[in-house]
Symmetry: C2
Subunit: 355 residues, 2 copies
């Protein structure tokens, strides 16, 4: 149980127009900080006004990317109360990330307590326009000033919050995806299963390339053979082929997404067969040719469900469901967002009230 | 040509004992900063007192590891003057890193001018004890506060300096190396050839493991087959087998080290055959069994040349040259350090005076 000292901002910022929030553009009045010192552990948990961090230019996070993060959201329910979606899953994933990255780990209950306490303080920042939410960003950075490559003796765990808009302001339109055949995101023995900063820095070049070619996102193939589908952009990816739903297995190179896991649970609950065997991109393109590639979608906290309307691999293009969102994709979107915003009953026990 | 505004510290720190400098522990009085803004380019180059950076908690460097760095040294010559070693190579490498990482690039001449200008201001920080030098750390960070994953609109290029001791305070003793067979450092299509932070964060777990097993460093194998030798710790690696000298090719997964390149040049100049073909770890262990593994050493800016005395791969252990530094390793060390500290004539044209 953390002892969190709360010294909130005395002057509050003007709230932005909740019809034009964007993603990760506005930040709330306060942030949560916990220090970690080798030999002492976590200490000095506090909520303070959102403010610039004072970081030594030799701090290890700025040189060796010793950093990890999580992303989750707080949702405004129709009755005005606020809830979280599976925050324990984020807490567990950050522990797995930090073990791989040699960063200190925060116990699940402390992580959830920290999130809840900050969201409670920032409760009036949780927007209520349809599709909006409060994005919560916990992250850990190595703060010791030291240029030798080794683990750091000091760290900070920080949470900032950002009110965010509906990811698709004009409704859910399927995206065009470029299958990356040159750059790789992850390989066995690496950090693909973690939310470490390095995974994202390494991916930017493919995003730029996809945009230049007129595509919105990249579909990553495995790093060893460039043969099996892994993730799309920074989302997990699902393929419905001839009635069966495929998604890449979480065996070290794929991020174990909370939305991914929730989709698998719902799909199985609804009676679908979900395969987590590795799926070759060639099989996806062949299924498209044979008219069996029924639906493709990405899953992630930001967009929840992101339908894919077009997939380009080398010289082949697969058009999916005539560029329309498919029925399973739509049902997942409606169910998940219904549970998250509290318009549907949470039969899965996934939501956690912020009281 | 940069217009660098110089406003140095008015109060100077006490200089540390140059017999106990360590590596990356002490920092000089001043630092150099250049801002980069999308649509404007590099601007406001300045030398200011060494001080904490004020970084927004949503700055992209803290979340997505959008950062790169370089490392080089300034050396005190016997006549009291100061020189650099191949700073243009570091400038070129940072350009290659930053292109891969979608960070802005600084022209070679501006990079070298920035380094020279800061070292000139900090000239009295260049130590003169044998084996000591002024380590120079240029780095680039993405400073825009934004949580969506995309390139940043603002960056900073910063140089800090740290007086450093002889890397091996008790003389050059060969190190014990553990061949990593579980974790990987790099795979094709990734960032292995760059000095991006993410490469180093990902490597820590193997360093911890090697230390726990009683080894000082990790030898990395390729990420696809775990078969070919690539790098040792954060150094390049050379193997002398039956008269021929092998080092891994720089084909995307291996850092193109400045010391590596200089060693290859010297070895060829001396008449050795240097092979940059991929070398299987099995061949190294077999050569050891047959008594043909003559010398192994790492190369890097920090230690210059680091002889390897023992190599463990799975259950096999190779002992090299009876745990003594080998003659070629020793000659490279003497020649390179002689050129760097100005005790040998620089026939290669590698040194650059700081005037």
């Amino acid at each position: 149980m953390l002892n969190i000292k709360i010294t909130p901002a005395t002057e509050k910022k003007a709230k932005p127009d909740s019809k034009h929030l964007g993603f990760g553009v506005f930040y709330t009045d306060n942030m949560l900080v916990i220090d970690h010192t080798e030999g002492i552990g976590w200490h000095d948990a506090r909520i303070v006004p959102y403010q610039p961090l004072s970081i030594d230019p030799a701090a290890m996070v700025l040189h060796y990317a010793m950093e990890s993060f999580e992303g989750l959201k707080a949702y405004r329910k129709p009755d005005g109360s606020v809830q979280l979606f599976r925050p324990d899953c984020n807490a567990e994933r950050m522990i797995n990330t930090n073990k791989r990255m040699c960063l200190p780990t925060l116990p699940v209950e402390d992580f959830v307590q920290a999130v809840k306490t900050l969201v409670k303080v920032e409760e009036d920042w949780v927007p209520s326009e349809p599709g909006t939410s409060l994005y919560i960003r916990p992250f850990v950075i190595a703060t010791e000033p030291h240029l030798g490559v080794r683990t750091s003796k000091t760290h900070q765990f920080i949470i900032i919050c950002s009110p965010v808009g509906a990811y698709y302001s004009t409704g859910i339109n399927p995206v065009k995806i470029f299958v990356e055949d040159e750059y790789t995101r992850a390989c066995p023995g690496g950090t693909g299963f973690t939310k470490c900063g390095g995974n994202y820095a390494a991916s930017l070049i493919s995003q730029v390339k996809a945009h230049d070619l007129g595509y919105e996102q990249t579909l990553w193939l495995d790093g060893v053979e460039h043969k099996y589908v892994e993730e799309v952009g920074s989302m997990n990816c699902f393929f419905k082929i001839d009635g069966t739903i495929y998604t890449a297995p979480c065996v070290g190179t794929v991020l174990p997404g909370v939305t991914r896991r929730s989709c698998i649970d719902l799909l199985k609950h609804w009676g679908y067969t979900v395969s987590e065997e590795r799926l070759p991109i060639a099989d996806v393109m062949k299924a498209s040719e044979e008219g069996k590639l029924e639906e493709v979608f990405g899953t992630g906290t930001a967009a929840v469900i992101s339908p894919v309307g077009e997939l380009r691999f080398e010289d082949q293009v697969a058009y999916i469901n005539n560029g329309e969102i498919g029925p399973v994709t739509h049902k997942l979107y409606d169910t998940l967002t219904g549970i998250q915003w509290g318009t549907l009953k949470d039969e899965m026990g996934w939501t956690v009230p912020v009281e």
